[in-house]
Symmetry: C2
Subunit: 332 residues, 2 copies
């Protein structure tokens, strides 16, 4: 197994990325390899003298910045860590790749180089959100902002496979994110996708779900277009962080002693609901494995991403996905 990590991607690159990779070696077997891709001198400077022999460094002189345009930057920075990493994966020199860098560039490069998995029409990003009722896998979280109904059907099939194989949820229930619980409500995309999902006996479709029910256990898989999924993901992060901050501040303002006493309880709750525990978001539907991490990833997030990448390969998730996918045309 060869896992590649974009050492230059993310707000805390390369330091936290490299350290997270080293920690993640515990998920690799004795013959596996971990390839750190990026500026060689910067990476080598972070490695200990007696570096684990399973670590390789692959030099990439350029860096795609977080705010670069995905398509433009891939065209102009052919020697960037993301471009080189994706090419290596396409050439089967890597089994899985991990990046906390520019999400659009990483998703585009991996789709271009790895190609689609079997009958997959469009890959989708599956993100796992911790909810009050357990982990919820949302697909798509931003790869495809204007999908067709058939894409949503495939997202349901792929995310169900991910939820059951990687998260261990037996028969994940699939909900279609909409503006009302009734089948007749929603956009034309949602109405048509609802029909396709209802007609597929291989998934446990519970119907349309509203934003309100997403966090209370209405389903374990939530399907939506990449625009809605991205807004859901980022809104959830911003609101949860803001609420925690507000409550902490108000309690501490009331009584310093009370503030101190609730701190450890808050820490525990926060950790339980911290999405970085889920180790990044897989780009499902490429012929390979690509784990996209949050730009703010620290070493723990990268450590968890290596765990997911190894799990993805060891369990041969793509084989399960292939067995669940229907052959559909985009016009279905």
């Amino acid at each position: 197994m060869r896992i590649g990590i974009d050492a230059m991607g993310g707000d805390h690159a390369p330091e936290e990325i490299v350290q997270g990779g080293i920690l993640g070696l515990k998920f690799l077997g004795p013959d596996d390899r971990l390839v750190l891709i990026g500026r060689e001198d910067a990476i080598r400077g972070l490695l200990p003298k007696d570096v684990d022999p399973r670590i390789d460094v692959c030099h990439a002189p350029e860096v795609i910045e977080m705010h670069d345009s995905p398509v433009e930057s891939l065209r102009q920075k052919r020697k960037s860590s993301i471009a080189i990493m994706a090419k290596m994966a396409g050439d089967r020199e890597l089994d899985s790749v991990i990046s906390a860098g520019n999400t659009g560039a990483c998703a585009a490069a991996c789709q271009l180089r790895m190609k689609a998995l079997g009958p997959v029409l469009r890959p989708g990003i599956a993100v796992v959100l911790p909810t009050f009722a357990g982990p919820l896998t949302i697909c798509d979280a931003g790869a495809n902002v204007q999908p067709k109904p058939a894409h949503l059907l495939q997202y349901a099939q792929m995310a169900s496979a991910y939820s059951s194989e990687i998260l261990g949820i037996k028969n994940p229930r699939v909900g279609l994110i909409s503006v009302g619980g009734e089948d007749v409500k929603g956009s034309p995309l949602v109405k048509k996708a609802n029909e396709l999902l209802r007609a597929d006996p291989s998934i446990d479709f519970v119907g349309n779900v509203e934003g309100r029910e997403l966090f209370s256990g209405a389903c374990e898989v939530g399907v939506c277009d990449g625009f809605v999924g991205n807004v859901v993901l980022k809104l959830t992060e911003g609101l949860a962080e803001g609420l925690f901050r507000t409550i902490r501040r108000e309690v501490a303002a009331e009584s310093e002693e009370l503030g101190k006493r609730i701190e450890p309880i808050f820490g525990r709750i926060w950790q339980k609901h911290d999405y970085s525990e889920y180790g990044g978001a897989p780009l499902l539907g490429v012929n390979g494995s690509c784990i996209i991490c949050h730009g703010s990833s620290d070493r723990r997030a990268i450590f968890n991403a290596v765990r997911i990448a190894a799990d993805f390969i060891n369990k041969d998730l793509n084989k399960t996905i292939l067995s669940r996918l229907s052959e559909v045309t985009a016009d279905a």
Copy 2:
């Protein structure tokens, strides 16, 4: 001023609706009227013997249920409280209407009967969300799930007027909800709407905003299609309620005494962030005034809705909206 209330709409109708209306009389002048519309016997049974003479009851024998199809139910239940109320508004017998019932039916009936305001192409629902940085007005929250770019421009113009006139925010900054801060990101709808918004000097457009920034004060007005707006609204409700519940439970499980001490602090924070304080969501862009309330509205929410309805009329909000609207075609 004549304000009509759908006494049969909402989970707690007619009791809480009627009581909220009675409380709301404090916002009416001596010559104003409050018309309660619904089953006369049910409403009369809830009114005190010495009922305020400004209250009228208008009999409507039918009720549109929360889960009825909006279009179907309006066709079949012509004597429902919503249908009769909207007709009265269209005939200028009411200056403003309030309903906590079926949102789709209420919005459709009001659009049909009141007609559009001046050059408005499609009315939009403006909902006010309490954030950590003050009230955020989101438009559209569900009237129009497949808008055109010109509709989003008008939502920005109308919601800016609402935010400044009703919420008292001087020069509200407008953000376009998208999947990235850069102008080039987003769906085709968002990219085109971004251009229209940039070209309008009458609004303070701050560009695209991500879900993450919505609650931290990036803007006072958030513009989006009705599908995204509805998901944002309901997700916010569900997540905030769930987080509060979880924190309360975990603190109480740790120490009963601690749980009791934080209760009043939590109550205060919750109230500060309680959207029912904002009194329902106006359907902006109809030639009249329609306030749509949450299905779970209690008397306090209806009381606040009467306040908003009175404010809307007293401040002649539609005049301000008309002065701010550009004449655009749907294909702009």
